[in-house]
C-alpha cells in the first residue's frame, strides 16, 4: 500500500472526527424517539437504543478514541523512552534492577493494573481538579485516567526496545567522545543518543496506538472506559455488541463502529509497517 494513500485516509478519518460533529445536525447525547432505526436518508448509519444518530456518535467517538490512542501512546513514549535510555546507559546493576522491575510488571496482567488505577484514582482526581483552575476538566477525570493508565501499560515494550538499542549505541565512538569532552549525562542521553533511537520509537508508536485504542475498547466493554454520554468507538462497539441477539439484531450498531475501528487500526498498522521497511 502506498504511503500517500495511507496518510490521506488517516487524515480523512481524523478530519471527519474533528470537524464532523460540528457539521452534523444531530447531537451527541440528546435522546429522541427515533430508536433503533436502520440506516436511512435522515440517519445515514441508523440510530441507537436512545434514538441518537449513529454517524454523529461515531464521529464524536473518533475524537475520543484517537485522542486516547495518541495521548496514551505519547505517555508510553515519554515513560518508556526515558526509562530505556536511563537503564541502558547506566548499565550494570542498575540496568539489571530496572529491567527486573519491567519483567515483574510484564508478568502482571495489564487489566489488573488498569482497573486498579481507574478505581483508585477516579474520585481522587476529580476532587483534586475540582478546586483548581482545571475544574472544568474534573468531569473528564475518567478520560484523563484512561490516557495515563493505558499509556502506563504500553511503555514496557518500548522501554525494552529502547534499552536494547542504547546498549549498543553507547559503545559507539561519538558517545565516547561526547563523554570525553565532558558533556553531562542528561545532555548525552537526550542530545546524542535519543536521535538515534527515534526512528524505531516512531515505528512502535504507530503500532502502539492501535493497541491502546483496542485496549480502551475492552475497558469500555468492562464498563471502565469513557463515561456516558461521551462516546468512543469502544463504547459504541460495546453497546452495539450488547444488543446482538438471535431474534432481531440492530446490525448497524455493530457493523459501522467495527468497520471504522478496523479501518483506522489497519491504516495505523500499515503505517507502522511502512516506517519499518527502510531498516532492511
Amino acid at each position: 500500500m502506498k504511503i500517500r494513500f495511507i496518510l490521506i485516509t488517516l487524515a480523512l478519518i481524523v478530519l471527519a472526527s474533528v470537524l464532523g460533529p460540528w457539521v452534523s445536525p444531530y447531537s451527541l447525547s440528546e435522546v429522541s424517539s427515533a430508536r433503533l432505526l436502520p440506516p436511512s436518508q435522515s440517519h445515514w448509519l441508523g440510530t441507537d437504543l436512545h434514538g441518537r444518530d449513529l454517524l454523529t456518535r461515531l464521529l464524536y467517538g473518533g475524537r475520543i478514541s484517537l485522542l486516547v490512542g495518541l495521548v496514551g501512546a505519547t505517555v508510553s513514549l515519554l515513560v518508556g523512552v526515558t526509562y530505556g535510555l536511563v537503564s541502558g546507559y547506566l548499565g550494570g546493576r542498575t540496568d539489571n534492577a530496572m529491567m527486573r522491575f519491567v519483567d515483574v510488571l510484564y508478568a502482571l496482567p495489564r487489566i489488573i493494573l488498569v482497573i486498579v488505577l481507574i478505581t483508585l484514582f477516579d474520585l481522587k482526581l476529580k476532587q483534586l481538579l475540582d478546586g483548581t483552575f482545571f475544574s472544568s476538566l474534573a468531569s473528564h477525570a475518567r478520560l484523563l485516567l484512561l490516557f495515563v493508565g493505558l499509556g502506563l501499560v504500553e511503555w514496557l515494550t518500548l522501554a525494552r526496545i529502547v534499552r536494547a538499542q542504547v546498549l549498543s549505541i553507547k559503545e559507539r565512538p561519538f558517545v565516547m567522545s561526547a563523554r570525553l569532552i565532558g558533556q553531562t549525562t542528561p545532555t548525552i542521553l537526550f542530545r546524542q543518543i535519543l536521535p538515534q533511537v527515534l526512528p524505531i520509537v516512531l515505528t512502535y508508536l504507530t503500532l502502539s496506538l492501535p493497541a491502546v485504542i483496542l485496549e480502551e475498547s475492552f475497558l469500555s466493554f468492562l464498563g471502565l472506559g469513557v463515561q456516558a454520554p461521551l462516546a468512543s468507538w469502544g463504547t459504541l462497539l460495546a453497546d452495539g455488541a450488547a444488543l446482538l441477539n438471535p431474534i432481531q439484531s440492530p446490525w448497524w450498531c455493530v457493523l459501522f463502529p467495527a468497520l471504522l475501528l478496523a479501518l483506522t487500526l489497519l491504516i495505523l498498522n500499515f503505517l507502522g509497517d511502512q516506517l519499518r521497511q527502510p531498516q532492511k
Binding site: 515483574v104 508478568a107 496482567p109 486498579v116 483508585l120 474520585l123 483496542l214 475498547s217 475492552f218 467495527a258
Partner: protein, 306 residues
Amino acid sequence: MISFLIRRLLYSIPVALLVIIVCFLLVRLAPGSPFSSERALDPATQQMLESKYGLSGSLPQQCARYIGSVVRGDLGDSLKFRGRTVLEIISQSLPRSLLLGSIAFLIAIGLGVPLGSWAAARNGKTEDRWLNGFALLTLSIPTFVLAPVAVLSLSFAIPIFPPAGWGTPIQLVLPSICLALPFVGVCARLTRSGLLETIGADFIRTGRAKGVSEKTLILLHALRPAVLPLVAYAGPLAASILTGSLVIEEVFAIPGIGQFFVSGVMNRDVFLVSGVVLIYCILLLFFNLIADWLTAILDPRIRLQS
C-alpha cells in the same frame, strides 16, 4: 544446560514472588471491600470477616501474612466463593483453560506459519497483500465483537456449532477459533517477515548457488532461523492463550480461569487474583524458558546467555 536451568529457576522465584506481592497490594489498595453487597454489612461483621481471612492489620502485615502462607503452599481461600480454596478453584478451572488454550495455540501456529510462509513465497504479489490485510484485520476486531458475531453466524444463521457450553468436543470449536484468530495474523506476519529476512541471507544464497532445491532451502534451512521471532513471541502468547479470556469464557459459558483475572479484581477477591496471577506468571516464565531454549537450538549462533 543444567546451570542455565538452575540460574533461570533462581531468577524466576523472586520474580514470581514480587509479582504476587504487587498484585496483592494493588487489589487491597483499590477502594471497596470484598465483603460488601447490595445489602449493607454491619461494621462488626465486616471486621470479623477481615480477621478471619487474615486481612486485618496494616497493609504490610496483611501482605507478609499472605506471602508466608504462599511459601508454605497455602494459596488462601476465595473471598467471594466461600468455602473454596484458591488452589481448588484453580485446579478445577485451569485444565479447561489449558485444553481450550492448547487447541487455540495449535490453530494459531498451525494456520499462522503456513500462511506466513506462503505469503513470503509470494512476496510483493497480491496474495501477500491480501494476507497482510487479513492479518491486520484480525488484530483490529475486539474479541467481544468477534465472539457474539461468530455465535450468531455459526450457531444461529447457519446452525453448525452449539452456541455455548462445556462438555463435548464440538463445543470447543467455536471458542478456540475465536480465541486463536487474533493471533493467527500475528504469527503469520512474524513468520513472513522472518522468512523474508532469512531468505536474503548469505547462507541461503550459498545454498542456492550450490544447487539445493528451493523447497529444501526454505523448509529445512531457512525456516529454522526464520521462526526465531515467532518463537520469542510464542512464549508470552502461550501464557496468555492458556489462561484464556474473559470474553470467550462469558460468551461461550466456559468454566475456565481467564474470567478470574477480571472478575476477581472486580470482587476484590485478593487471594484468588493473586493465585491466578501466580499461575500466569509461572506459565509465562516456563514458556519463556522453552522459547529461549528453542532459540538456542534453532540458531547455533546464539548461545544460552549466562
